[in-house]
């Protein structure tokens, strides 16, 4: 990969990071409280809320991660008795998208960034 291409890739990665951060914070502060109200009977949510009290960004992002787990791994969580499926089914689709989407996006971004960074390191070696 030449310098010009890797420079553009880096620009895109930085842009995506900024976009993802904005989405994460928007979801954490605007969408998370509504989602948590729907899931008051889910043990995984109440456990996480008890651990991460307050409104600081780190606490809110960790709680957003727990809500995203409920929406993305609902079958497994139901088997373990950690969620009430009746409650999760009541959550509107748009709210599920807004809470789980940025977290899934951040996972993809992290995996992509680390893969590209490792490829660049191997290429330089």
């Amino acid at each position: 990969m030449n310098n010009d291409t890797s420079g553009w890739i880096a620009m895109v990665m930085c842009g995506l990071t900024l976009l993802n951060l904005i989405l994460l914070l928007f979801s954490a502060y605007r969408k998370l409280p509504a989602a948590e109200q729907y899931l008051t009977g889910c043990r995984i949510i109440s456990d996480t809320k008890r651990l991460w009290k307050g409104n600081g960004p780190i606490a809110m992002l960790n709680r957003l991660g727990a809500v995203a787990l409920v929406f993305t791994l609902s079958v497994l969580l139901e088997k373990r008795g950690l969620i009430d499926r009746n409650e999760t089914d009541q959550v509107p689709l748009s709210l599920r998208f807004w809470t789980a989407g940025p977290i899934v996006g951040s996972c993809m971004l992290l995996l992509g960034a680390v893969s590209l960074w490792l490829m660049a390191k191997i290429g330089n070696a």
């Binding site: 420079g7 890739i9 960790n62 996972c107």
Partner: protein, 323 residues
């Protein structure tokens, strides 16, 4: 003229004693020291605070000195509300955290933040036990009620302290919970206090509080380190080198903090998913260990990758805008 030096103070000490005896600065250099450390002057210098020493002329500050003063002020601001003892614990543990810190300050927040929450919940439980003893002693509850409630609290405490959950609580594995806490109903009736309880609460709350401050100190130092790189390039290099450093170092710092935040969030989520898939129950030290491990690994990897991409993006921006 030699360049200024900085060090991190490791214990509470009087400003004048530090200047005149520990550093043993000659009288001629003291005005310069006072000028470089205006926020510390005539105060007690707290552990964790950055102290600047220089033998340059007293009537002016070099750009590097100004930069260091800004860094010292940032660190000081990020430590507002920290007590001496908390800051001391943080400084003593800083070397362990430093390798993570240099790649992404948020990593500190993701890992120690989670641990400090755990320690806070242990502290809450200790306080509940103390309150229960006080209520029983004042005759507000029967013996049966007291022993039943205490059993419940001890069971909760034992869950919190399983495995690695004990780390940092100052409670060693010495058999029964009563022995661990130094509780004896007999001695309590005589002395009116739980032996060792106050000490445990002090240690736990000190650790929890100082750990949660780690993120902000880490960010202040990260930003300060980037600013120093820029300052160095601007003082020794050509103008173009200075401008280039602003783009590259600025990009590195911003992208590493940004991607470390994203990585920490993603890491905690992915680790949570893996732990649930493997049947580790939620609550207690097991889940916390998952979050700590996943969050720190994610933020560390994100911080490293972010630093790389930020540097390259900075170079690219510099080429397009300045050339």
């Amino acid at each position: 003229m030699s360049s200024p030096h900085v060090f991190v103070n490791d214990r509470p000490q009087n400003y004048n004693y530090l200047r005149d005896h520990l550093l043993a600065l000659p009288v001629a250099l003291r005005p310069k020291f006072d000028q470089l450390n205006p926020y510390l002057r005539n105060n007690v210098v707290m552990p964790g605070e950055v102290v600047i020493v220089s033998d340059g002329p007293a009537h002016m500050c070099t750009p590097e000195e100004t930069q260091l003063m800004q860094l010292a002020q940032d660190v000081r601001m990020s430590m507002i509300g920290t007590t001496n003892s908390e800051a001391e614990v943080m400084v003593q543990n800083f070397d362990v955290l430093q390798s993570i810190l240099s790649y992404g300050s948020i990593g500190i927040g993701a890992s120690t933040g989670a641990w400090s929450k755990h320690l806070s919940s242990v502290e809450d439980l200790l306080k509940e036990i103390e309150t229960l003893h006080q209520r029983w002693r004042s005759g507000a509850m029967t013996n049966d009620q007291f022993f039943a409630q205490r059993r419940t609290l001890f069971a909760r405490m034992e869950t919190q302290l399983k495995g690695i959950g004990r780390v940092g609580t100052d409670l060693n594995n010495r058999g029964k919970m009563k022995r661990m806490l130094g509780i004896s109903s007999k001695s309590y009736l005589h002395t009116g206090e739980i032996a060792g309880y106050a000490r445990h609460v002090r240690v736990v709350s000190k650790l929890a509080s100082s750990m949660s401050k780690g993120t902000y100190v880490g960010i202040a130092l990260d930003v300060g380190a980037g600013a120093l790189e820029i300052q160095e390039a601007c003082s020794v290099g050509r103008e173009s080198e200075c401008t280039r450093a602003k783009y590259v170092e600025g990009g590195k710092t911003a992208a590493s903090i940004g991607l470390a935040t994203v990585g920490g969030t993603a890491g905690a989520y992915l680790a949570g998913a893996v732990c649930i898939a493997f049947g580790i129950p939620t609550g207690g030290a097991g889940t916390l260990a998952c979050a700590v491990f996943g969050g720190s690994l994610g933020s560390y990897a994100g911080g490293m990758a972010g630093s790389h991409f930020g540097e390259q993006a900075g170079e690219k921006l510099f080429e397009h805008i300045e050339r």
